[in-house]
Symmetry: C2
Subunit: 118 residues, 2 copies
């Protein structure tokens, strides 16, 4: 993947992912992370997950964002864990089928950033 | 608190909670837990939290439940963490002001069960 592709990562869509697909390599992950610099990689559950917390002025605004993330998840048929709290939403993207990170997760993280910014 | 009060826990409402309020005692917690037998107490973060996972047939149904929990949270002005995933919603209730469990949390857990059942 070259950097011009990375620059428009949020414009990509999810590819079908098979259970025997290889998780993304460390090199590819580092490259893709440059497009979503506010995300981290968490491994609390033993599975790599992209994670970012967004802040809001109250619970209602947080829940609105949760629903917007839900909309893109349904549209792309790829679903995150969304943790809604008073004034914040934490989104975790990973690919259940491969118990790890696929390019799809980076695409969805970039799309989530776009939602927040627009 | 007697058992007749416990039986209608979901009909209670949240009391105002001050930051110097005492967390619920272990004895009171055990008594209240009998009204919400499908909940557990988690302490992953060093703070006691009531936790229950509800299952659904897909992501959309899960997100609908998240919104219904959000509605009662706003109504009672007491807000949980709601973890929405494909086919499941995990709800965590605790009282930020006292970094632990207040009777309000048990009331809200009972109300959450009512939402799920109705």
């Amino acid at each position: 993947m070259n950097s011009s592709n990375n620059a428009s990562l949020h414009e990509h869509h999810c590819d079908a992912c098979r259970s025997d697909a290889a998780p993304i390599t460390e090199f590819e992950a580092k490259e893709l992370m440059t497009s979503i610099p506010l995300w981290g990689i968490s491994n609390v559950t033993g599975v790599d997950q992209l994670v970012r917390t967004y802040t809001f002025k109250n619970f209602v605004e947080a829940l609105k964002f949760t629903n917007r993330v839900g909309d893109i998840a349904e549209k792309e048929n790829h679903h995150p864990e969304i943790r809604t709290e008073w004034g914040k939403v934490t989104v975790l993207w990973w690919t259940h089928k491969i118990s790890g990170l696929h390019k799809n997760d980076f695409v969805m993280a970039a799309q989530t950033d776009q939602l927040f910014e627009n």
